[in-house]
């Protein structure tokens, strides 16, 4: 019984997902489905509340599952991101004839997978979580079935995702081969004894690193990212760009820091180099984009680099883990928000607005433009927004770990990024509406949810201490002492 209680939030989300599917099939074909979003959100709120009430810290299912402060924290992150992603979607889904019930159910199933990653204490649970998180998202990218771009996005995302999963699984098999166990604690003990003495351990480490890098979109494993984000329906992109990335970093923290931490001297420097390459390439290519959706896709690659820099600084202890978790939340709010702001523009197909199509948006929709600007300023990393605080929290452990060169690269990249983010703000505010501007759609649910999250971005930017203290607590179980 205590086993069941330990995974109560996951069970609740799964039940809500099946319920949404069931209700959806019983509704008449032409019925209004906007309230299905509210049902989904209500279910997610129940899961959010049920977490702290029924689950007790400790292991469950014979050591397959571990409930600790990291699990609790990550559950909240994934549920909040899912709620936000569901609330911005209904208008777009109705306009583009995307089956709403299936859409919400897929978001929920993917969220269960992400939550499973956060509670994994074993390679088996971790692999199941990663797959349960990814497979629904492949389908999500292809939800706009009659659109060529959406199909192409799903195909590319699926093929590279499946390939990376098999790399990861082969790495897990080798890891089991060299350590004789699949549980993270004993794996850490085994690799601490032997170190990186032999070839098989190196193979395992390389395969696992490559597999997880694919999932998190680290350069040079990022090629699927721009096409998958660009071609997917915009609300799906908003979800895809944040939740799977947050989940990938939960997996990296659990496995690389929690399980393979003793090999940190070997993967730490590799991650530092990958982080530097990732943020620089992401930003440089984003500079050249004129389509805002594609630009945001490359910018999300750059943000992966910042988060990875904090992982590479694992030696700094709790503050590195906390920086990862804090950045993941900050990134989740501002990036989901920025993609969702593209939902204001009524454009055929899945394409995002180009810079020209944004002209004069601030005149027609002042509040919408304000939220868009807040998200972009936060992505740039300008105070008083959460994006700025998150970068500071990343740079601190990077310096503590002695990676001064990486801190310099982060700072230079922030300057580079300012150029293309602020260019969008210029088009929003300083250009008049002309014949190129896209028609604009305003919906109450979109306005309210974007407003709330923009407010959260500013409030967390001014008062980050509470969240940061909680992130420090959440990072504590991962650090080897």
């Amino acid at each position: 019984m205590s086993n069941v209680l330990a995974v109560m939030p996951e069970i609740v989300v799964t039940v809500v997902a099946t319920l949404v599917l069931l209700v959806d099939t019983m509704l008449p074909r032409r019925a209004e489905r906007g309230w299905l979003a509210l049902l989904t959100v209500a279910g997610l709120l129940v899961a959010l509340v049920s977490g702290p009430f029924v689950t007790v810290p400790g292991t469950a299912f014979n050591g397959f599952v571990q409930i600790d402060t990291f699990t609790t924290f990550s559950r909240v992150v994934f549920i909040v991101l899912a709620i936000f992603a569901v609330l911005v979607a209904p208008g777009y889904l109705a306009r583009h004839d995307i089956p709403a019930g299936e859409y919400y159910a897929i978001v929920l199933f993917s969220t269960v997978g992400a939550m499973t990653i956060a509670l994994s204490n074993d390679l088996i649970t971790l692999f199941l979580g990663i797959e349960l998180m990814s497979i629904p998202v492949y389908a999500l990218a292809g939800m706009q079935r009659h659109d060529r771009y959406s199909n192409e996005a799903a195909l590319k995302y699926f093929l590279l995702g499946a390939f990376s999963s098999s790399l990861l699984l082969y790495g897990f098999a080798w890891l089991y081969g060299v350590t004789g166990t699949t549980e993270f604690g004993p794996i850490a003990a085994a690799v601490a004894r032997t170190g990186l003495a032999d070839g098989p351990t190196l193979i395992a480490l390389a395969l696992v690193t490559a597999g997880l890098s694919f999932k998190a979109a680290v350069v040079p494993f990022h090629q699927w990212t721009p096409d998958a984000y660009d071609g997917a329906p915009t609300p799906a992109t908003a979800f895809m760009s944040v939740a799977p990335k947050a989940a990938a970093f939960a997996a990296i923290l659990r496995l690389m820091v929690g399980g393979l931490g003793p090999l940190g001297t070997d993967w730490g420097i590799a991650f530092a180099v990958l982080a530097a390459v990732t943020m620089t390439l992401g930003n440089v290519v984003a500079l050249a984009q004129t389509n805002v959706k594609r630009m945001l896709a490359y910018s999300s690659v750059a943000h992966t680099g910042y988060i990875l820099a904090a992982v590479a600084a694992y030696r700094a202890g709790d503050s590195a883990g906390a920086a990862v978790l804090f950045y993941v939340i900050a990134y989740g709010l501002m990036n989901l928000g920025a993609f969702a702001c593209l939902l204001y523009f009524d454009i055929e197909g899945t394409r995002g607005a180009t810079l020209m199509e944004l002209n004069g948006f601030a005149r027609q929709e002042p509040l919408g433009a304000l939220t868009f600007a807040i998200f972009l300023i936060s992505l740039t990393g300008i105070p008083p927004t959460v994006g700025f605080v998150a970068k500071v929290f990343v740079i601190q452990p990077v310096l503590d770990a002695g990676l001064t060169w990486l801190a310099v690269i982060i700072a230079l990249n922030a300057v580079l990024a300012a150029f293309y983010y602020l260019r969008v703000v210029v088009h929003l505010y300083m250009h008049e509406t002309d014949e190129r501007s896209a028609p604009i759609i305003s919906e109450r649910m979109l306005n309210v949810s974007l407003g709330v999250s923009a407010l959260a971005v500013v409030v967390l930017g001014v008062l980050p201490d509470g969240l940061y203290a909680w992130a420090l607590q959440a990072a504590a179980p991962l650090v080897l002492r």
Partner: protein, 105 residues
């Protein structure tokens, strides 16, 4: 009493399967063939897991348990994957992934 096959033999076969699959994914251009190559890689991992599990049989059988879960995951992946290939084929009747290049940049 069956003659014992050494662990190394299983691992060699598994590595060969993995590299064939990997090479297939990187060189073949047909989406369905790529999918088959991914399955080959998953099965390479399964074989390695079972072989290692037999070696650690006295202390840890989790490798065999892992394989059962991988079966389920692979089946789910194929179901979604073939649906995506089919849907892509409907909007544009080619399965060659080089043709899927409407997006660039």
């Amino acid at each position: 009493m069956t003659p014992a096959v050494p662990l190394g033999a299983f691992i060699a076969v598994s590595a060969a399967l993995f590299f064939i699959g990997c090479a297939g994914v990187l060189t073949r251009r047909n989406a369905v063939v790529i999918l088959m190559c991914v399955e080959l890689m998953l099965n390479a991992a399964n074989l390695a897991l079972v072989a290692f599990s037999r070696r650690y049989g006295a202390t840890d059988e989790r490798g065999s348990v892992f394989v059962v879960f991988v079966f389920v995951v692979a089946a789910a992946e194929v179901a979604v994957g073939l649906a995506i290939v089919l849907s892509a084929y409907r909007t544009r009747p080619v399965v060659n992934v080089d043709e899927a290049r409407a997006m660039k940049g």
